[in-house]
């Protein structure tokens, strides 16, 4: 009992270190130290576990640790900086399979209660999904597999069937722990599910997937913890599980996507049929907080001011945002349309007041050719001067007028108070484009809110 108490209290200490470590990892100044702190926690947890009296034979442990340690260290040292994300995916997969194996092994050590059986099945299930899912993610990222979404007709039905099958097998197995077939089925099917879930997702979305799978692997560890009745697994696993979800969310926002959009957009591509028909969808609103995540991750931003910036007297805040973005490592330029505002040079007057350098003010003709290269175009109270109808809609009164082609940027944020039209009184198809988000509200307030979000 003495050792056990010691072991467990050490686990408490390890958990404290994990908590500090995670917290510190979230801020640039402390991240590296945080990683170290959490590593120390892990070290303590592992060492005290070895003292556990139920461990009789260290031989196999030594073998496992040696093999794993060497592989891990060598790979971690040799991998190129550019292939880090796929490496993380791979490691994550190993974590998953380990949980699966621990859950499996737990079957043999004890007489499992129903509750434990459930947790064992869960750890196998989640572990399996994590394992194969991560492997696929690794494959896509390392370009050992095609990066594009792999989809086939009926995929959705297949997956639903698969999930039902897994549930059925799990239930059967939990009720008849002796029938290994069910066990193997659960293992096999959950591995298959991992594959199926990840293949329809495009390579560009893999980081989000890995983050999600990372969260899963935490949950798998947590389930394994329940299975073998080990609190540190439960605590550390659920910490990772929960923080992983948050991180996934943050990463989605930084890509200006929703999680379900990431996970299921592959399917809908199939469901929607082959042709990329032009859809006049709904305008999508966005909050300042979400805009922050995208801007924070952007490395080039073009700001397109219009009359609304003048009305809101937002020029100073615009400058402030420019500086924050620049400090954050992004390139920021302004694209000034010749008729923006209500008098010639309106934007110049305001931006000069805010002391925006003349060098950053680009004419429409200078900025349009490289519009595709901008991560975000922020349209601040402009409307007519960014109206793609001038390019696309032959009947329009402004057809033929050159406009700033913000719709060609990767993301477009439009700040205005409503869906109202501008001076020319014509509707603006820009607001309905796939890559456009509306930030409704007074431009100055909206900008201040975004600035606030930059912690």
């Amino acid at each position: 009992m003495g050792t056990e108490l010691l072991v467990n209290l050490s686990y408490v200490a390890a958990a404290v270190l994990f908590i500090f470590g995670l917290k510190m990892l979230g801020s640039p100044a402390t991240a590296r130290k945080g990683n170290l702190v959490s590593a120390v926690g892990m070290f303590i947890a592992v060492v005290v576990t070895l003292l556990d009296q139920s461990i009789i034979d260290y031989k196999w442990i030594a073998v496992g640790i040696a093999v794993g340690g060497i592989i891990g260290a060598v790979v971690a040292r040799s991998v190129a900086m550019t292939s880090m994300p796929e490496m993380v995916a791979l490691f994550n997969g190993f974590g998953g399979i380990a949980s699966l194996l621990v859950g499996w092994a737990a079957l043999y050590g004890m007489d499992a209660s129903t509750f434990q059986m459930i947790t064992i099945v869960l750890s196998i299930l989640i572990g399996g999904i994590t394992f194969t899912g991560s492997l696929i993610a690794y494959g896509k990222l390392s370009e050992r597999m095609p990066g594009r979404p792999l989809v086939f007709a009926g995929q959705r039905f297949f997956n639903i069937a698969l999930i039902i099958a897994i549930i059925a097998c799990s239930v059967l197995f939990a009720m008849n722990p002796d029938v290994s077939l069910y066990l193997y089925l659960v293992i096999g099917l959950s591995c298959l599910l991992g594959v199926m879930l990840v293949i329809p997702i495009g390579g560009a979305d893999m980081p989000v997937v890995i983050s999600l799978l990372n969260s899963y692997s935490g949950l798998a560890a947590c389930a394994a913890g329940f299975a073998i009745n080990n609190i540190i697994l439960i605590v550390a696993g659920s910490l990772v599980g929960a923080s992983g979800i948050i991180l996934t969310q943050i990463m989605c926002k930084a890509m200006n996507r929703s999680l379900s959009n990431v996970l299921f957009s592959g399917f809908s591509a199939v469901a929607g049929g082959g042709g990329a028909a032009k859809i006049e969808g709904e305008a999508k609103a966005m909050s300042a907080d979400d805009a922050y995540y995208v801007l924070e991750a952007a490395s080039s931003v073009v700001i397109v001011p219009g009359y609304g910036m003048a009305v809101a007297q937002a020029q100073h805040v615009v400058k402030e945002l420019q500086e924050i973005l620049e400090k954050n490592g992004a390139e920021v330029v302004y694209a000034i349309h010749p008729v923006a505002g209500r008098m010639p040079g309106h934007m110049n007057v305001l931006l000069a007041e805010a002391d925006v350098s003349y060098d950053l003010l680009l004419e429409m003709d200078a900025v349009n050719p490289r519009m595709e290269t901008f991560d975000v175009a922020i349209v601040i109270g402009a409307n007519d001067v960014v109206n793609p109808a001038a390019r696309e809609m032959e009947g329009s009164p402004i057809y033929g007028m050159p406009v700033i082609n913000v719709d060609m940027a990767r993301n477009v944020f439009v700040m205005k108070r409503s869906m109202a039209s501008g001076f020319a009184g014509i509707d603006n198809p820009l607001f309905f484009k796939e890559n456009t988000r509306m930030l409704f509200g007074d431009a100055k307030e909206m900008l201040s809110n975004i600035i606030k979000a930059f912690s």
Binding site: Y307, A310, V311, P338, V339, G341, G345, H346, A352, E353
Partner: protein
């Protein structure tokens, strides 16, 4: 197609209709460009620069006028000059078509296609040809600076060891293109800026430049589809005068830019209002040359009335002739470009085009603009 650009004759006019860089663009588009010798001197462009741009320089003014397929200039021509033009040629300039009926008739009789720069419509698409706007905008800037050099005070507030200098107040009546630029310029210099206009959409625009809008309730006022003001009733004008009185008395500089398209500008600052201003104050009457908004202003001159300086110099953009030329020239180029037929390498008047439809006054021996036709007949 031969484009001819004669020198401007008005005395003191330093602007030029086409600057070398636009001449080059026209040549590149396939036009032949002929200029009168010494064309750009007033704005600092030598003949050589035009030659380098691909234009030919001709000393004989008559030759320029009589051979051109398109004549590009700033001021309206004399009737004699119209008589020298080729039949079928296109003539682009300010024309003042509401008042210059004889001129219009002469164009009609000469079978010349006369384009009036004043009549360019005010759509979003046509702004790049809109010389009224481009020149008015410069005028707004110039008027403030002229006023400033006449005022025995500085515009910005200064808290100094030798006491605090209060900011000067600038009151701008009429916040169209010129008025807005005047607001911006005065504001930049640190003045307190107040403005008034009869069109109520303008209030927001004034505020968007950091100015204060003077609220006077005039009842129903309006604006045309081109954004011009509708003339006030006499009653409304009286209300306006009453409402402005106090503001004028408190202001150091008053700048009037109020115009009603196609009519004589209204009188908005009366003699007693002038007398009510502090000694040393300054008034700029933008429209002094066409009648003026200010009682006592003299066209083309700066006068002192009751200790108040009234500036009515006019031709404001000419003070910054180089930039004014650049903008006017760009307006003309865009206009020619709008009518340019790449196949024929010629300027063609397409009456389907809403811009040309608006600004062409005479064509093939007819007055084609409805408003003007009604005025003259």
């Amino acid at each position: 197609m031969l484009l001819g650009i004669p020198k401007e004759l008005a005395s003191g006019e330093n602007r030029v209709a086409i600057i070398p860089s636009d001449a080059k663009k026209l040549v590149r588009a396939g036009a032949a460009v002929q200029i009168e010798a010494g064309l750009g001197l007033g704005s600092g462009f030598s003949d050589q620069e035009y030659v380098d741009a691909g234009a030919t320089v001709v000393a004989d003014r008559n030759a320029v006028l009589s051979s051109a397929d398109v004549v590009l200039r700033i001021s309206k021509p004399s009737i004699e000059e119209i008589k020298q033009l080729k039949a079928g040629c296109i003539h682009v300039s300010y024309l003042d078509p509401f008042n210059e009926h004889e001129l219009i008739k002469a164009f009609r009789d000469q079978q010349v296609t006369a384009i009036s720069m004043e009549m360019i419509p005010r759509s979003t698409r046509s702004q790049k040809m809109d010389a009224l706007s481009s020149q008015a905008s410069l005028a707004g800037y110039v008027m403030v600076l002229l006023a400033t050099t006449k005022l025995p005070r500085i515009l910005p507030m200064m808290m100094t060891p030798a006491g605090t200098l209060k900011p000067a107040t600038v009151f701008i009546i009429g916040a169209g293109v010129a008025g807005l630029q005047a607001i911006a310029t005065a504001k930049r210099l640190g003045a307190k800026v107040v403005a008034f206009d009869t069109r109520d959409v303008v209030a927001e625009q004034v505020r968007s430049l950091g100015g204060k809008f003077l609220e006077i309730d005039l009842g129903e006022t309006g604006q045309t589809k081109d954004g011009y003001a509708v003339e006030l009733t006499e009653e409304q004008r009286q209300l306006q005068l009453e409402g402005q009185k106090k503001q004028i008395a408190e202001s150091d500089i008053v700048i009037t830019t109020a115009q009603v398209f196609g009519r004589k500008p209204p009188v908005l600052v009366t003699k007693d209002m002038v007398a009510g201003m502090k000694p040393g104050s300054v008034i700029v009457d933008m429209a002094a040359e066409t009648g003026g908004n200010v009682e006592g202003s003299v066209a083309g001159e700066t006068v002192e009335v009751d200790g108040v300086t009234i500036i009515g110099n006019g031709n404001w953009a000419n003070y910054v002739s180089r930039d004014a030329s650049q903008m006017y020239s760009s307006n003309l180029f865009n206009l020619v470009d709008e009518g340019w037929d790449k196949e024929k390498q010629a300027m063609v008047i397409d009456f389907e085009n809403d811009i040309l439809q608006g600004c062409v006054i005479t064509h093939s021996g007819e007055i084609v603009n409805d408003t003007i036709k009604n005025l003259i007949k």
